[in-house]
């Protein structure tokens, strides 16, 4: 009885250790349509059986993917996408890191970059439940924010950019210098993961604001 428990325990432990280590091999499935999910599970098991030893992923130096980064429309219409080609990474956390790096680099097309020049990405984790934790260095808190609207656009340019490009990520929490932050400028609660806010997209505002968040059509 106890032996069986022990075996189960060790088995689960091995799985929990091996799965993150081999994530680079199968995590791309997470970014593909739901239909691939079953296959992904099968792939995981196979990987675990065959290859318990971690191997560093070869850098996918030659591959790139196109992502849409959200910046602020200068006239105040909201967030607008800017397409950019970034290095491909099989590991979702590393991929997100690249995308957020680009977002912090700012717009290359004259849009307002609410987060540019305010800190750099220190670490990104993605949990199995689709929560991305994005840790940004403390300079992000020093960047002046003109007010609540600016703060909303700054926070959600990041949250919406991630969830829009990577549907496996459902919620995003911004950490500042490895710690949980209260707010960036006194308004938006950063102490828990945030769902994206589609109403901040300029495209959702073609119609004048309607009370209580009706979904954009």
């Amino acid at each position: 009885m106890r032996k069986a428990d022990l075996a189960i325990g060790i088995g689960l432990g091995a799985l929990l250790v091996v799965v993150p280590l081999t994530a680079h091999r199968w995590s791309r499935w997470l970014r593909q349509p739901v239909a691939a999910a079953d296959e992904a599970t099968a792939a995981t098991d196979a990987d675990v059986d065959r290859e318990p030893e971690p191997t560093e992923a070869p850098a996918d130096v030659h591959r790139t993917i196109n992502v849409k980064l959200l910046f602020e429309e200068p006239g105040g219409a909201g967030l607008v996408p800017e397409e950019r080609s970034v290095a491909y990474h099989a590991n979702l956390s590393r991929q997100l890191r690249v995308v957020v790096d680009e977002l912090l680099r700012g717009s290359l097309a004259g849009k307002v970059s609410p987060l540019a020049g305010g800190g750099r990405v220190q670490e990104v984790f993605v949990t199995a439940r689709g929560v991305a934790y994005v840790d940004i260095s403390k300079e992000i808190a020093d960047k002046p924010l003109p007010g609540e609207t600016a703060e909303m656009l700054a926070v959600f340019s990041l949250v919406n950019s991630i969830t829009m490009n990577f549907p496996a990520v459902k919620r995003v929490q911004i950490l500042i210098d490895g710690r949980i932050a209260e707010t960036l400028g006194g308004h938006v609660d950063l102490s828990r993961p945030l769902l994206p806010d589609p109403t901040l997209l300029a495209s959702s505002r073609a119609v004048p604001a309607v009370p209580a968040a009706t979904p954009a059509s």
Partner: protein, 507 residues
């Protein structure tokens, strides 16, 4: 057998920790479960107090496995697994990550974890409630029976009755000192719930609870207090205290609790005659002037600061509210920074009927203009978030969430979730009234995850009165008459809300 094991591991830990030369904190922590009571020495690293998690769970049937190569420790219990990593503020729980207030330390087969993170981790691992009681320095595991004492107060015209009702028989000791009465419960493990803290009517002003080796409920007496009658009763066990007033010759003065407000509420037309008690409690509105002190908020091109505009409008709103016979309190009445959670806490302490946070907006787009009214976007409407909230909801960090608290993640204050519908109605009423009174562009009623609204246990809105970053609106927002119009509009919106929601909100 389990106890023997626990004892051995405790001794072992003392040896290990002792040999490592780590200073132990003054008082050990008591681990209390339905079957164990054990003391474990804590270790302080920097300002963080930590406990060896393997010793905390010793004797509870938890398996521990150290992976020296990965620098991790995994704890297993009934198929659930928790993994802690050396020098990382992360724990893996069922494949999800949880943040801790400080890094765990995995060394020499020991695993030190910040005490405040233990309840969250152990609740998951053991599948039962786990609670850290900082004042008692106790970690409660499982359904530990602790007497619960509910303190309620009933105010009538010339007496106040305070009842301490206990879930099981506990001794009470009543003593009367200068200006106050103390009820001592000579037990350390007692849960005391105060229904309210501030009382009106001037007989009793304040109820306070101080935990410790003995639990004490202190009753601060008011000017009208004359004498006290105490009696103990059975089934349910309770202590009843009756405080009687000086015979009423003078007219009663309401607003005993108006300490932090400059305005005392003198109802228009004096209201009911002195002899009859007030038919219902006056409405209480808590107004929050956004920002303050070093947190200047938005800034106009001509130099106007959000913190000044919000305070000016809030003061005008308070004055207007007092004229209606409501009570109004400000979360700040001068140029000072008040933590966001503190602002909400003030509204909760006053048991406000509504909470209105006043802000002025700012955008990088100079042309952005108009007012908008927000209520909370609560992510718990998302089913996953709701599930998380269920598992994490009971955890409140010791001392509450202080500003900059590392524990904020695990504080799931759901207070506002119950009031979202009323908040949305209040937001609509205030938004309509603002549009009528100011003619300013409307940006509508919106939802956002604003920190200041999260913990409000009453209908709560945040009003963006206009854009300070817009030169035209800045001129209006610093104008005395315009500020008055805005304040009047917010009041009208509130009054319309009260008309419709009067009956339910009154009690």
């Amino acid at each position: 057998m389990n106890d023997g094991l626990a004892l051995r591991s405790s001794l072992l830990s003392l040896l290990v920790l002792g040999s490592a030369g780590v200073p132990a904190a003054a008082e050990p922590v008591v681990i209390l479960s339905d079957t164990h009571r054990r003391e474990v020495a804590s270790v302080t690293r920097g300002t963080v107090e930590m406990l060896p998690i393997d010793i905390v769970v010793a004797g509870m049937g938890v398996t521990t496995r150290t992976d020296a190569a990965a620098g991790s420790v995994s704890l297993g219990y009934q198929g659930r697994e928790l993994i802690l990593y050396h020098n990382k503020s992360l724990a893996s729980v069922a494949g999800d990550l949880r943040l801790l207030s400080a890094p765990s330390i995995v060394a020499d087969g020991r695993c030190l974890v910040p005490i405040d993170g233990l309840p969250l981790l152990l609740r998951y691992l053991l599948g039962k409630p786990v609670e850290w009681r900082a004042p008692l320095r106790m970690l409660l595991v499982g359904d530990v029976k602790i007497p619960r004492i509910d303190v309620s107060a009933f105010v009538s015209g010339d007496s106040v009755r305070i009842v301490l009702e206990s879930s099981e028989k506990v001794p009470f000791r009543v003593s009367q000192g200068e200006g106050r009465v103390a009820v001592v419960i000579p037990r350390d493990l007692v849960e005391v719930k105060l229904e309210q803290e501030r009382l009106t009517g001037g007989i009793v002003e304040l109820l306070q609870h101080s935990p410790g080796k003995e639990n004490v409920v202190t009753v601060t007496l008011g000017k009208r207090f004359q004498n006290l009658k105490a009696s103990e009763q059975e089934s349910p066990p309770r202590l009843v205290l009756e405080f009687f007033a000086v015979p009423a010759t003078a007219s009663p003065t309401p607003a005993a609790s108006a300490a932090s407000s400059g305005s005392t509420s003198t109802p228009e037309g004096a209201g009911p005659k002195a002899a009859t008690p007030l038919p219902r409690a006056p409405r209480i509105v808590v107004i929050d002037p956004g920002h303050g002190g070093a947190m200047v908020g938005a800034q106009g091109p001509a130099g106007a600061l959000e913190k000044d505009v919000t305070l000016a409008i809030a003061r005008k709103l308070r004055a207007a509210i007092a004229n209606l016979g409501y009570q109004a309190f400000l979360t700040r009445d001068k140029d000072e920074d008040v933590a966001l959670d503190q602002r909400t806490a003030i509204a909760n302490n006053f048991k406000a009927d509504v909470f209105v946070s006043i802000h002025a907006n700012g955008s990088r787009a100079g042309g952005a203009k108009g007012s908008e009214v927000y209520f909370l976007a609560h992510e718990a409407s998302d089913s996953e978030a709701r599930r998380l909230a269920m598992t994490e909801g009971a955890f409140v960090p010791p001392g509450g969430a202080s500003p900059g608290s590392d524990l904020a993640l695990i504080l799931w204050n759901m207070a506002q979730a119950e009031h979202l519908e009323e908040s949305s109605v209040l937001a609509s009423r205030v938004h309509e009234a603002l549009g009528e009174a100011t003619g300013a562009a409307s940006r509508g009623v919106k939802q956002a995850p604003f920190r200041v609204l999260v913990g409000a246990a009453m209908p709560a809105v945040l009003v963006e009165v206009g854009f300070l970053s817009n030169a035209d609106e800045e001129k209006l927002l610093v104008n005395d008459a315009y500020q008055g119009r805005v304040a009047g509009a917010i009041l009208r919106g509130m009054a319309r809300y009260f008309e419709r929601h009067g009956a339910s909100a009154a009690n």
